[in-house]
Each structure stands twice: as structure tokens, then as C-alpha cells.
Subunit: 415 residues, 2 copies
Amino acid sequence: MKGNVIIGQSGGPTAVINASLAGVIKASWKEGIRRIYGMHYGIEGLLNEDIVDIEDYIVTSQDLSLLKRTPSAFLGTCRYKLPEIEGNEAVYEKIFDILDKKNIEFFLYNGGNDSMDTIKQLSDYAAAHNKKQKFMGIPKTIDNDLPLTDHCPGYGSAAKYIATSMKELIHDNESYGASKSTVLIVEIMGRHTGWLTASAALSKDIDCSGPDLIYLPEVVFDVEKFVNKVKDLARNKKSIVIAVSEGLKVEDGRFLCELGQSSEHVDAFGHKKLSGAAAYLAGVVTAETGLKSRYVEFSSLQRCAAHLASRCDNDEAYNVGFLAAKAAFNGETGKMVSIEVQSRDPYISSYDMFDIHEVANVERNVPKNWIINDGTYVSDEYLDYARPLINGMLNPYFAGGLPVHLTMMKKRKTK
Amino acid sequence: MKGNVIIGQSGGPTAVINASLAGVIKASWKEGIRRIYGMHYGIEGLLNEDIVDIEDYIVTSQDLSLLKRTPSAFLGTCRYKLPEIEGNEAVYEKIFDILDKKNIEFFLYNGGNDSMDTIKQLSDYAAAHNKKQKFMGIPKTIDNDLPLTDHCPGYGSAAKYIATSMKELIHDNESYGASKSTVLIVEIMGRHTGWLTASAALSKDIDCSGPDLIYLPEVVFDVEKFVNKVKDLARNKKSIVIAVSEGLKVEDGRFLCELGQSSEHVDAFGHKKLSGAAAYLAGVVTAETGLKSRYVEFSSLQRCAAHLASRCDNDEAYNVGFLAAKAAFNGETGKMVSIEVQSRDPYISSYDMFDIHEVANVERNVPKNWIINDGTYVSDEYLDYARPLINGMLNPYFAGGLPVHLTMMKKRKTK
């Protein structure tokens, strides 16, 4: 008889992170695993022995269907990186004691770079100390910056939300026929990589002119060049829409949002005010061109809009969860499941695995040659890459006009 | 043979403003009207003789279906209030000359308070000068602040977007189990009335705890009391979510967003920085309580998210457009179509008309007795009022994973 399973969610939530959880549960049911545990708030919760029994909340296939449609981390998440093994053996001993106590044999962790580091450390420790536990990583990040996998579950849904909202905002911005141009600057997540900001380009089609400029953090930002581009556009266009990454930096390495900050730039409470890149640039545009400007920040909306999740993304998130658990049951450990794409149009994908040491702590950027027009747009290669990932809808279940979600607010009556 | 029709869209766009346009077109087709004109950018466009022929873009029932699913003002909009008739007769003469030249007999205008004033002025002028034209108002505003109608087309869809996004954001905010509470402040539109902000309460259900506090502009805001409420909540709750109206004012009449402004509060370009109410309050929370805080602004997203439009709202927007045109064809003038509700559960509504003089320039607030808990929440009366308005989905047409819209980017090949 196999031991029990534990699954944890880690890092920023996504619209489909719970689909991977559903995949792990499904695989465990098929395998006849006795108990499926969840870490309440990731590895941080595990260290506090804050562990839930999945069976208290999820029993039927209907529960799984609803879980797949629930945004944010059902189990709760954390931002916690395990310390180096050397000198911190007590932390690791504690974790393995907790696992042994609950007869846990299979450890699944769903997250981005830092979470894959957790799998690396734990599987390294297990190998060195001859532990029975198997450790498998399940990729997840809206940032799409994990290496070796073609793309990351979570990215397609965030990109679909961004592209849809861009279409709607561009139409909105075009609806005013005022004499002066109106500049709308939209701020998109991605502190280090521009994958999410690039997805704004997907809005361009026969029914939408798309953003006029797109700025990724992979390219050093030049404020003066930017102002000149806006002035050029304003000669022929009433509505100007610009997508910018929150992570834009100027030559000297400072973030754009730091440029507006000065020692006087504090509020009534002496609290330093942080405005974002878009807010800063909207101010620059009006000051330098006299044009009307405003900004929109997609903020956390772009990572939790399950009502607009991509079907492709949701299916793949479910599948990587399922396959990671299945691989662990088959004896695999210290690996991350990845997605391979054979054909983008039609879209044909499959799954593989990589040694976790090749994945952990490596960040993948948007390729330089996909960034065109003097760093102000993305190429057709990007569009071909991203288009299949936003395809299809997993429609929410609605009640009273609103999407229904599965939460830990109420336990099921257990047997 | 009846004369021609002209329709204009005015004020801020909504997710369903084009459904009313579709209703006017449908009624005109049924009536056998020869030509249907559109004002390009509302009355401002009309004054510039910027008029489009609807037939160039919309010919089939399929076009109408797509139009109903298109956010923002298809014809373009304006914020323009006609001057008083006395002393400005030339403006009115010009408008009637343009209408006469195109043999326009029926004038439909779709908008909020200012737009109803346009209908009032034009119908008054027509009556005084014995003009043949009929003028009918079609209500539209996400703010829901028009009087006499039970509610305004546009409101239900914005409320559905807000309630859905609140559910998703609340789950997102709950997903971190950090030791300190996290305070999320969400800013919602509504400069003068709290109808939109109130809709955040709709998110509360068996699967969502809802916002903890809701602040409407109908009540004077007290910063100190607010801080104490947050401190109280933080004693028992990890995730605190607060909905605030952009129009919150303190005792002395200043907007919250003005409180953080000082002469030093300028950016590198000497441009005064305007932060919103939520940004200001997030700063206050961290400074006064030491809690982690962040803010989200729904910004224009809440008025253009057609992908999440309410079916009830879309149908009603279509119907008021249809009925306003039909009333004009029957000889009515100087009126606005309104919605009456016989029963809220089950929802049974009908339509009526009111003299435009009773409507124009009157603003309706959220009733004081619907605002409870010392001005920090809304009552069940509000929930009963709003629930039916967000019901049902008008699913977008999707292509390539994104909603398809009808736009003026390309003319149809006309016969």
C-alpha cells in the first residue's frame, strides 16, 4: 500500500492554480491513495503543522469541476524560500518528521522559480539522507518565466484577461472625439520579464487597432524617446494606448516608479508614496506634451480573473498536476513536469519532465529578437507563440448572476 | 412616408450602451424608416455635421447581435451640454437646419443627466418654433443616478463586473497566511452617488465573505473612525477588504484624494500628482496601523467589460432603445423611457415614460436608510434591489480566444 500525498500551493495565485490541485487529487483518487493532505499556506504552513485533509472539502467530481473554476490559491499560499541545507538541518529534519508522522510519501509543490527551489532542496536532502519521500514540482506562474517548459500554466489565462481588457479599454478610449488626443497608459505585471506585457499585442485584430506602443522590462527605457514617440503618434491619432510593464527601468537601473519619488514626495503621514510606472508616465505625458492622459493598472485582477480563464490553460494546469502526481507514484523525484509544443497551429502539445536542478532559480526572458520597432512592440513570432495559449473558455458556474467558487469557508459534512 | 431617424450616444460609455443603439435600429427597421443616421461623437459631432449612415456598418440581424456584445460607444460619444436657448438661438437653428437637410424627423439621444437636458432643450425649442421633429431620451449611466426610472441601463453590468471582481480579489487577498493582516482597498466609480460602490456588497455569499467595509459618498468620511474600524477588524481577521467610492469627501468638503496633495507633492516635471481615494487610504492604513496595505482601482474597466455584461441589463438597454424609437414614431416627444419593476423576486419589469422636465438635471442618491453600520455597509433593501439586475450572461462571440466586437474600422460593402 502506497503512502499518503501532500500538495502545496506557493507564490502568487493564478486563475488556474486550483486546476493543478484538481489534477493531483484526480491522480490520487485513481491511484487509490488513502489520504490527500493540503499544506495550508504552502511550506510555511507545513512548518507550522497547519495541514488540511482534502476530503473535508473535496469529495466528488462535481467538487473538482468547481475547484477548476475557483481563482486564487484554494489551500492558501506563501512566499517562503527554504534556507540552504547546510547549517539548517533542523528545518529539514522537522519537515521530514512531519511527513513521516502523517505517513506522507508523495510531496507535490505547485509554483514558480522559488517553489522549484523548494523541490530541489527537499529532494536533495531526501537523497542524501535516504528518505522514502518523492518530490515533484508542478509549474505555475503568470509571469511565464520558468525555463525548459514551453510556457507556464497560469500565463495563458492572464494573457487572455489582459488582451480582452485591452480590447475593451481601447474601444473605450476611442469613443471620445475630443480635439486633443487622449493617451491611456496601461500597467501590466512582470517585474523582470515582459511576457505578460507582450500579451497586450494579442488585442490587435480586424476589430481593434491594438496598443500603439508596448514596453517590456527586457529593454532599457528611455523617457525622452518615449515622449517623442507619443508626440509623433498624436499628429495622426486621437486615441493613443500604451502598454507598459511595471518593471520598466531607465539606464541607471532605477525603476520608473522610483523616478517620481523625492524626499518631499511623502503624504501627510510622512509615508513615502509609491506611484506605479503608468502613473508616472501619464504625468510625464501631460507635462511634456500637454495631452490629456490617464492610466489603468490591471493589478491583481490579471492573476485572479477566473471568469475569463483560458480553456487551454486550465486543461494544461490540470494535466501537469495529474502527471506530476502520477510520476511521483511511479517513483520519480526531484523533477518538474513541463509542456512541449509540437505544433502551434493547429495546437498540439505534450508533456515531459526535467531535472529540478536545471529549472530552479533560472529565469527566462522574452527573446531579444521578438522585441521590435526600437523596443516598442513585439514580433509575429511572439503572437504565433502566444495565440494558442488563450484559446477556449472554461465558463464559470453562475448563481444569482455571479460565478460560484469552492472555498474553505465551510467544511463538507464528512462521512 | 415618415422622415428619417438620428441617434446619438453621449456621456461615459457603458458595457450595454450599444444594445440601446441596436434597439433603435431594430425599431426603425420594423417601422420601415428610410435612413438611420448616427451622430459621430454625439451632439458635438452633429454640430460639426459629422454624421454616419448606419447602413454602412449594420445591415443584418447578425450585425445587431454583435453590436449588442460590443462595449464602449459604437458611434463615439461626447461630454457636451447645449447652452441655454435664450441668447444662443443660432446653435439651435443650426441643429434644426442640419436635421431638416437630412429629412430627420426622429431624434433619439442615449445618455445620463446631461443628455436628458439636451432632449429637454431641443424639444422645448421645437415646441416653441413649431418644428416637426420628435425628441426622445434613452436612459444610460453606470452611475444609476437618473430619477423616476427604477434603475438605469448600464448599471447592472457595471455592478456585475464589480461584484465578480470583488469575489475574485477577496479570494486572492485571503490566499496569503502571513502573520500580519493585509488590507486591500478597492476604489469604485461614482463621484456623487454610491450605487456602484454599493454593488461590492453583492459579492457576499456562502462562498465569499464580501467586503468588510463599504464607504459611499452619500456619507461624510471620517479618517480617524476609518482607521479605528480597520484596527478593530485586524484583531480577528487576516484578510481585510474595503470598498470605497472615488467620490468620498471629508467634513470640510474636500475629496479624499485632495488630502494627500500639498505644494511639495509634485513630480519631477512640476506636475501635481493626483492619487485616488484608495491610494490615499492605503497610505493612511500603513502609516497609522503598520499593516500591509495595497489598493486596486477598477477605473474604466468597470464601464467597458462587455465580456461580463448582465443579460438582464443588456435586454433592458435594448428594450428602452426600441421603445423610445417606437414612441417617437407614434408622435411622442420630450420624454424619457423608464423602467418599472413590479416584482423583484421573481423579477418582473415593464416600461413607462416621463416628461423630460421631471428628469433632466435631477440626481438620485442611494437612500440614507439603505446605508447602515455607521455608514460602513449597505442594507438588505439594497441587495434585494440590485440582485436581479446582474442576472444572466450575454456571452460574447469569441474568435481566437478573444471577444469579437463590431467597430467602425471597416465599412461593410454597401449595396
